[in-house]
Subunit: 372 residues, 2 copies
DNA sequence: TTGTAGGCGTTATCAG
DNA sequence: CTGATAACGCCTACAA
């Protein structure tokens, strides 16, 4: 029973223990990883290293006796094949890079989970970077990833810095742009159309006969997605013969932005106050609902409200919050699934796929327009 | 000007273009990564590959002329050194593995951001896994990471499966256990003491003269951290001569758990109702506050409330929520900082460090005990 | 079923 | 300052 934790200094297995008769110019030892290798395990089992390799990659090609013996030794030594060497040797399996905009947001986090789950099932290692909605940061992250020679990349926006586009093209690997589905892109697309979500939000209020409908954004302009929903809303308004009213707070913070909005509305003459507000996110919508009474406003009677994101707390507010439920987990999982499929397909440059992950408009009481 | 994007099929640079005079048993080509390599760049520059390597790792050892020429070729080809090969050769690439319990939670997500930021500054690549609070899943993740021969690991719990402990010991790399600081652990510790947080929450109410103080948990038992706060609370209660009242919902979901709690309290005779409830998290606390009126309860007069986590929405509720503000970003950043320090210190087995990231009790109106 | 040879892309080492 | 050579740990191809 070998109890020593470290692999013994390995001899070239073919070299018998001849006592250094004219040492054949042995180079100085290179730094080794300090853990067991295939060779160590093979030596312990009295077989060749290929056999150990086969034990992992094609167990059925190893005899039963040997398999058991190897299993024992592997358990005893705690040997784990070195992925780095494996990837170098096979140019297979390996690494997928993903650039998120903001790992902190629960929505992105769900997407990360989706990617991780599918990646794990397929023995891919997910490399994650955070770009904070900055193009420059995205480029930097991609540059780092490039060094890992990833099998694929997943991005979370479809507008990049010019040199990023060039870099992506040079990589010659499957690229997935997730979250927003746009036309005329050379890469795989997974997600939904922000514009259409904005349209459906607007239509929800227009159908109820509302005239003055506002779209309220916080001051964080880096994230253009809410703004694109606002564009969809604006289009729908114009189509209905109504005047779009896109309002943006100064504060980036949702809570402060909500306060700004309420102050703004309260200052308006009754006639000109919006009957309904569509918010860029649930947080801002909920904050507005909770603070509305203090400004003499009542949801939904004097102010109907809709959010985006389907936060759990939206169920508990009075009234419950009408919102849009995206499916970030599915977006992440599908993105990775596309990667897996693309890698499986012999890397054949299949034309970019487009996978829609629809959003659901969840209608609750906060958006009821009073028939006044 | 070379415009072709692909590196030409490479000849053994020493082999002149002799037209295959008895091909020396050329083995079938192995799959290659399909991108430029040091050799390609070297060939293009008319130098040896070592020189190109030096250009990256010891630029001052390369003549000025050559440096400029190489810079040009590298820019033109978009060559990026292969990290995988680099790590294999040097046995000291910068991979750090981190096992989170739940990437989806905003708190963990903040910690991830902290780790990523510090990792990036120090040219370390973060490998992330999600264990869903499961020990078995943690072990699996660590096993995967082990294959990457990471320089360090960051974990987010201090109780592991037995074989995990063995695996960790065998790795002989710095290990950081983050979130909760415990004594008697052989690894670095970063975070705070859940027990002490529980104590301070209890004392906050005890000091106000409350007698019946409950600690309410949701049904998600996998995460033991809230339970450990409850233990701290229980100790403080007993020390004050009061009877601890730890209540656990059946529902794992915070919103449902809040409903359960309110039903439970409403069913109690007035005399026996808790005056104050400490919640396992803010979500549950806020849900309770929002639903309390429907159950004939009023916060804080008939029920004082405190949460944990400092969610932004806690500021907007009426009354504003008393809570505890941890600093997950700092925990992540400090954990990675310890890793960086440990790697810098020649890997010398320094004794495990212990870094406290204090939590702040944020007192607002929801926890005011009415002087009845 | 098992073993031998050689290479994946990089860098450490030694020689010029 | 530059180059030849041999590893790092693994896997594929081929031979036995």
């Amino acid at each position: 029973m070998k109890t020593n934790g470290m692999p013994a200094a390995r001899e070239k297995s073919s070299t018998p223990a001849s006592e250094s008769p004219d040492p054949p110019k042995r180079r100085a030892q290179r730094p080794r990883s300090g853990t067991y290798t295939v060779h160590d395990v093979a030596a312990l089992a009295g077989v060749s290293s290929v056999t150990v390799s086969r034990y992992f990659n094609a167990p059925h090609k190893v005899s039963d006796v040997l398999r058991d013996r190897l299993a024992g030794i592997i358990a005893e030594t705690g040997y784990v094949p070195n992925q780095v060497a494996r990837i170098l040797a096979t140019a297979q399996g390996g690494v997928v890079g993903a650039v998120m905009q903001n790992v902190t947001s629960p929505t992105f986090a769900d997407m990360v989970r989706g990617m991780m789950d599918v990646a794990e099932e397929n023995a891919l290692q997910l490399l994650l970077a955070n770009s904070h909605f900055s193009l420059e940061s995205e480029t930097r992250a991609l540059r780092t990833f490039a060094g890992w020679h990833p099998r694929a990349m997943i991005l979370t926006r479809n507008d990049h810095a010019p040199d990023t586009e060039a870099l992506l093209a040079r990589l010659r690997i499957p690229i997935v742009e997730a979250w927003e589905v746009m036309t005329e892109r050379p890469f795989h697309q997974v997600g939904f159309s922000q514009t259409e979500v904005g349209i459906s939000q607007a239509l929800h209020f227009i159908a109820q006969g509302a005239q003055r409908i506002r779209f309220a954004l916080n001051g964080a302009t880096e994230d253009g997605r809410a703004a694109r929903r606002a564009e969809g809303y604006a289009g729908a308004m114009r189509d209905a013969g109504l005047k779009p009213d896109i309002w943006r707070a100064n504060a980036k913070d949702d809570i402060a932005a909500a306060r700004e909005l309420l102050a703004d509305i309260a200052a308006l003459p009754l006639r000109r106050r919006p009957q309904a507000v569509i918010f860029g996110n649930d947080n801002m919508a909920i904050a507005t609902m909770l603070s509305a009474p203090a400004h003499g406003l009542h949801v939904p009677d004097s102010l109907a409200v809709a959010g985006f994101g389907d936060m759990p707390l939206g169920l508990v507010t009075t009234p419950a919050l009408t919102t849009v439920r995206p499916d970030p987990y599915a977006i992440g999982a599908q993105s990775m699934a596309i990667v897996v499929a693309a890698l499986g397909d012999g890397e054949g440059k299949q034309s970019p796929q487009r996978r829609e992950i629809p959003c659901e408009l969840v209608v609750r009481d906060s958006s009821r327009i009073s028939r006044a």
